[in-house]
Amino acid sequence: MKVTLFATCIVDMFQSDVGIATVEVLERLGCEIVFPTGQVCCGQPAYNSGYVEDAKKAMKKMIATFEDAEVIVTPSGSCATMFKEYQHVFKDDPVWRPRAERLAEKTYELTEFIVDVLKVEDVGAKLDGIATYHPSCHMTRLLGVKDAPMKLLSHVEGLEMQPLPNAQNCCGFGGTFAVKMGNISEQMVDEKVDSVSETKASYLIGADGGCLMNIGGRMQRRDKPVKVMHIAEVLNSR
């Protein structure tokens, strides 16, 4: 299957390894990956801060860039959610609304794509150790992808999953919230870091670069010996 990759700006600029793992996992599952170089950011930082008009520029650019794709896959629940949000942003625009609706229909988050479209739950990955999983808010609540990551992780050979206490609580990222309300964000991420420590896991796995950057950055600052991994990297471990 021909898959058009929406890598996300975080992966492009900060987490190449996640992008590489995504490509390798999907290729191993028989997909042919296309990466349109016109892709930029989905517009979420500006959009969530209330700058909808400024964000629309990025949205239009992305809609045009991905127009010809058959299916779009992205290793981020939050950015996939944003792609699906475009149709609401352009709800009163007769030209862009149908284009945004078509974009939404063919967009999948990575784990959702592997489990629901490719119908694969065991990707043949192998990773020894104890891990815990942080379910990111946009992916679970807004996109509604809850089970796919757990199904995939349950088949990773050698990996023991421990439940994360208070997993449902946000890690305190929230895009610009992390800097705008830094003091509150700190308390939220600290509680998340403490919950991770409680599990005694060696790996913290997530499916969203922003949340992992937040929790990982705080764990590093607090000298926590936990390795942060994007689920694509776990699925690409052999």
Binding site: A7, C9, V11, D12, M13, F14, Q15, S16, G19, I20, V23, F35, T37, V40, C41, G43, A46, N48, S49, G50, Y51, V52, E53, D54, A55, K57, A58, K60, K61, C137, H138, R141, L142, Q168, N169, C170, G172, F173, G174, G175, F177, A178, V179, K180, M181, G182, N183, I184, S185, Q187, M188, V189, E191, M213, N214, G216, G217, R218, Q220, R221
Partner: protein, 476 residues
């Protein structure tokens, strides 16, 4: 006290509240309990999503036809001998109640729990008239005794206090001599309040839902105090927000079921009361005079706008009980009697952006509130809507942020700009980078790196890797 409970800035409030480790422990514990109970109650009922949709539909229908149902409610109550007053503002509502107090030469006024009377600041007004105003909901009673400490939660107003603190308040104000056992504290409050009930001239309650078809006021309580407040005094006044109404008892039943399950995880509360006007000739108890004060105070200005759905709220606090921000900053940080996600949406609408423009930003837009709401108010979407209004319609955003977002718009819509920027990022950040980590960032990164490390930008962007990968693949 009115809706606004203090003059401190949001940031200062938050910093102060977050130092209160007891409050934070109490809130976290209460969130765990209430969240679990709510989920259990929803599961026990079954088809929860359908019930939510039904609740939403009832609320939307009622709001879309609010004028009709208010008229029906008013006519039916008047037929039963009740008086109805429509108050456009807090002042009008307070003046009307004050008028009754004067006419009755009332001295002692007993109240059941009511958020709308907190919102309009009714207690202060009546006290200035020389009345003795006594709150009879246990939580509210404790707060009132404790020098009018404001509520920090809309269902459990004294959530931020522990039993030791309550014992201290009782000891100082009520000559209490026993221990901090909740049963002993409650019994003492009960004895004190019984004496008050017997002497009350006027009883004032709020209203969970008025029922248009019969002209009734529906009340949902666990302590039974609302029954005492409405039965014993000779004059009865109900104060309701104008949106708190249902067409018939059938919808009342649905919404009460959603309310009690969502608020405290109960199938029903101990007391669900419907009051319909003054006592009739055949009845032996109840007030001889019944007044219903229907308060607008900014609500009609919300109708018909993008924020209308906030008026669907049934005040269950489920959103507050799951909010990860409220969890750490507590209710008083919001500077409003309406805290948490619902407060962050409603307060700026009723009280304006001058005092409350920070509240819509006190959220990560995680959507937990929207998920929990039993009548499907899209709370996180409304918080986002506020941000858009603040930035684009009101132009209240800081200039540095505006410029940054303009630059974002430009960069994100141009291949050349994005490509150049992302390519340069690693070398620009080099002076701040050590071991692939930035621990003291410049400019906007400063706030991030105050508490966490930031990764250095990739030396090789993903797109550069892919270009190479693609080439190798084609060559192979």
């Amino acid at each position: 006290m009115a809706m606004k409970i203090g003059n401190e800035k949001f940031k200062d409030n938050v910093n102060k509240q977050m130092e209160d480790t007891f409050m934070r422990g109490a809130v976290a514990g209460a969130q765990e309990r209430l969240r679990t109970r709510r989920l259990d109650a929803a599961e026990e009922l079954g088809n929860w999503e359908e019930w939510r949709s039904h609740g939403e539909e009832i609320r939307q229908h009622t709001l879309d036809n609010l004028d009709y149902y208010l008229q029906e409610l008013s006519e039916n109550l008047q037929k039963r001998g009740g008086h109805v007053f429509f108050a456009a503002t807090a002042e009008e509502a307070n003046d009307y109640v004050k008028g009754i107090v004067k006419e009755k030469r009332a001295k002692k006024i007993l109240k059941a729990k009511s958020m709308v009377t907190e919102e309009i600041g009714l207690n202060d007004v009546l006290q200035q008239e020389g009345c003795d105003v006594i709150e009879t909901d246990l939580g509210e009673y404790i707060l009132q005794l404790d020098e009018h400490d404001p509520p920090s939660h809309i269902v459990t107003p004294a959530l931020h206090k522990n039993k030791e603190q309550i014992k201290d308040v009782f000891t100082e104000k009520l000559e209490y001599k026993l221990t901090s056992k909740p049963e002993e504290l409650a019994l003492h409050a009960r004895e004190k309040l019984r004496e008050e009930f017997l002497q009350a001239d006027i009883g004032i309650t709020g209203c969970n839902f008025a029922i248009a078809e019969s002209g009734s006021v529906g009340l949902v309580t666990n302590e039974g105090n609302a029954g005492m407040v409405s039965d014993l005094p000779d004059t009865q006044i109900c104060v309701m927000g104008m949106e708190r109404i249902v067409p018939t008892f059938e919808e009342f039943e649905v919404l009460v079921g959603l309310l009690t399950r969502s608020a405290v995880g109960q199938k029903l509360t101990s007391y669900i009361t419907a009051l319909t006007g003054p006592r009739t000739a055949e009845e032996v108890d109840g007030p001889s005079e019944f007044h219903l004060v229907i308060v607008d105070n900014g609500r009609s200005g919300i109708l018909g706008t993008e924020f209308q759905s906030v008026l669907q709220c049934i005040r269950c606090a489920a959103c507050i009980n799951v909010c990860p921000v409220y969890r750490h900053i507590g209710g008083h940080s919001y500077n409003s009697i309406y805290p948490g996600p619902i407060g962050a949406v409603l307060t700026p609408l009723l009280g304006g952006y001058d005092d409350f423009k920070e509240l819509p930003y006190a959220s990560t837009l995680c959507g937990a509130c929207t998920d929990a709401c039993p009548v499907k108010i899209p709370l996180h979407t409304l918080l986002h809507q506020h941000r858009q209004v603040i930035v684009e319609r009101e132009g209240r955003a800081p200039i540095s942020e505006k410029l940054a977002m303009k630059a974002f718009g430009l960069g994100a819509s141009s291949n050349q700009l994005y490509a150049a920027g992302s390519k340069m990022a690693n070398s620009v950040m080099k002076p701040f980078t050590k071991d692939e980590t930035i621990s003291k960032g410049p400019g906007p990164l400063k706030a991030w790196t105050e508490i966490r490390d930031f990764p250095a930008p990739n030396k090789e962007r993903f797109r550069d890797w892919f270009k190479q990968h693609d080439k190798e693949r084609d060559d192979a």
